[in-house]
């Protein structure tokens, strides 16, 4: 599978949104350990806004689809993850400008945009125990992929994201609400990174099923 139509990309967005909604409880529990416990509620809110507000009014306008998703999250969520996860989709929207279909290349360059934007806004780097610890390796995996095939590219990306989540357990927190915990955060995984891993898993599951 080398391309996704606007309709398929929409299907993938819905899959991501549902994955977040299904893990509302778990994401909340993770955030409760070292943060304020609302990450699940926030992501589920954003996901529901995606399900409600993203429409394929224009079958050729891929950028608009992702822009709608980003704006839906930005307007519904608030909090740290509202800005950060909307930046993620807006980064993809930027890369998708004038594109009619989604390719691994477009997705990879969108992720790169997102990483840049998120780093600049949030002033965090890899190793700071944020969602970047999952997003950066996933994004790098996509960019490094030569197959240009969604299934194999996303298989690696999702693995890297999951590894990134595991890594976050080892770090003290330097950003977000848990940063004030310093060393006491060690041993607990980052909530936002978990959401990124769920997103990668959902994208992989979607293309895997579509391929059948």
């Amino acid at each position: 599978m080398k391309t996704l139509t606007v309709q398929e990309a929409h299907g993938m967005l819905k899959k991501i949104a549902n994955e977040w909604i299904n893990h509302e409880e778990q994401l909340g529990e993770i955030d409760r350990k070292i943060g304020d416990g609302d990450h699940g509620i926030g992501m589920a809110n954003g996901a529901r806004a995606i399900l409600q507000n993203v429409t394929e009014t224009d079958e050729k306008n891929l950028a608009n689809l992702f822009k709608q998703a980003g704006m839906a999250m930005m307007e519904s969520m608030g909090g740290a993850s509202g800005v950060i996860f909307s930046a993620l989709f807006l980064g993809v929207a930027k890369a998708a400008k004038k594109q009619e279909v989604l390719t691994v290349e477009v997705l990879a360059s969108g992720m790169e945009n997102a990483v840049k934007e998120i780093k600049q806004r949030g002033k965090a780097a890899v190793g700071d125990k944020t969602m970047l610890d999952a997003l950066v390796p996933a994004s790098e995996a996509l960019s490094a992929d030569h197959s240009r095939d969604f299934v194999s590219a996303l298989a690696i990306a999702r693995e890297k994201a999951a590894e990134g989540v595991e890594q976050t357990k080892r770090y003290p927190a330097k950003h977000g609400r848990s940063k004030f915990l310093g060393e006491r955060a060690i041993g607990f995984q980052d909530a936002g990174a978990t959401s990124v891993a769920l997103m990668c898993q959902a994208m992989y599951d979607y293309v895997k099923e579509e391929e059948k």
Binding site: I34, G37, M77, G78, G82, R177, F180
Partner: protein, 336 residues
């Protein structure tokens, strides 16, 4: 969970509607954004004062909308910073032609959203400056003062910046007042029992029967250490020892004090705390100009409290003396 509410998805809107009904002669909901409230009475030409943050900390932040206080607030979901659009709308409501200052607690989410809001305001030719309040000494050491999170110290910084604005100070002058006030504000809190998130019914942390969290954040974020519950005398002694360290660099000996309850802690307990605070300050040679004992910055029905010390200088003192009132706070000097 036993909360008096209708439904999770109307929680914030129901609350705002109830607040505006109670205060309808003074405040209204913005036509630009349903999560923005503004003070009706405006003075042209003064610097606008915006505040805001997540819901769940009531009476903050909208409780400070008022005379010589806050002009507009942007309200987020429960414990979540307001969205960039809400911040933008609040900036527009506060703008009276001389620029706007946004004051909020220094949390990643608030900084991210207020930064975007200010960028959006820039497109509309409104100059707005962000001033994240960083008073919680438990959250970072002295070398990283500006990284500290904001807790009940918000009140004094806001009060003084708003007074500067009301007195006609320029945007830059108000901003400098804010920086000075912020750098002279030191708070420390303890958590005693968790609060309940009204959306999902979860308690926001766990503590053993006789255990308290020293240095806890207002969202229930863990603090410096867990410790056994001791007498008010011992506990306040330990907190004040930490806070007084921060005061060493100042020549001034005149302070404002706030003993803030986090929700379920009784006024009886807060006054007992204040007895200990005032005794220790007197022993250490400080003079307390004003003391606020109240639950202004809360986290649902969490039990616990914070102590805030704010070092005055001549200018800040004069600003603090200005009369001010809102639904949850007022200041009026006594004629003697």
């Amino acid at each position: 969970m036993k909360k008096i509410m209708n439904a999770a998805d109307t929680l914030v809107e129901d609350m705002l509607a109830g607040y505006v009904s109670a205060e309808h002669d003074r405040v209204a909901i913005s036509k630009e954004h349903p999560r923005v409230l503004y003070k009706k009475q405006k003075k042209t030409g003064k610097v606008g004062i915006v505040s805001g943050g997540g819901s769940g900390h009531e009476p903050l932040f909208f409780g400070l909308l008022g005379e010589n206080l806050v002009d507009s607030v942007a309200i987020g979901n429960l414990f979540a910073a307001p969205t960039p659009n809400a911040v933008l709308a609040a900036i527009k409501e506060a703008d009276q032609g001389a620029g706007v200052i946004c004051l909020f607690g220094n949390y990643a989410g608030d900084v991210l959203n207020f930064d975007m809001g200010v960028e959006l305001a820039d497109f509309e030719e409104i100059t707005a400056l962000n001033l994240p309040i960083a008073d919680d000494v438990a959250s970072a050491d002295q070398r990283h003062q500006s990284e500290r999170r904001g807790i009940a110290g918000d009140l004094f910084v806001l009060k003084e910046v708003a007074a500067a604005a009301a007195k006609g100070y320029s945007l830059e002058a108000c901003y400098q007042i804010g920086l000075a006030a912020n750098s002279r504000t030191f708070s420390l809190g303890v958590g005693i029992e968790p609060g309940t998130n009204p959306i999902n019914g979860k308690k926001n942390f766990e503590l053993a029967a006789n255990e308290i969290e020293f240095g806890l954040g207002i969202h229930g974020e863990p603090g410096i250490e867990k410790m056994p519950l001791v007498s008010a005398h011992k506990l306040v002694g330990k907190m004040m020892a930490r806070l007084l360290l921060e005061l060493q660099d100042y020549a001034e000996q005149e302070l404002l004090v706030c003993v803030n309850g986090l929700g379920a802690t009784t006024m009886m307990e807060l006054y007992i705390v204040n007895k200990e605070v005032s005794q220790l300050l007197q022993q250490a040679g400080y003079h307390v100009s004003d003391t606020v004992v109240d639950s202004i910055c809360t986290t649902q029905e969490m039990a616990g409290f914070s102590i805030t010390l704010h070092v005055l200088n001549e200018e800040l003192k004069e600003l603090y003396q200005m009369e001010a009132f809102s639904s949850c706070y007022f200041h009026k000097e006594v004629d003697q």
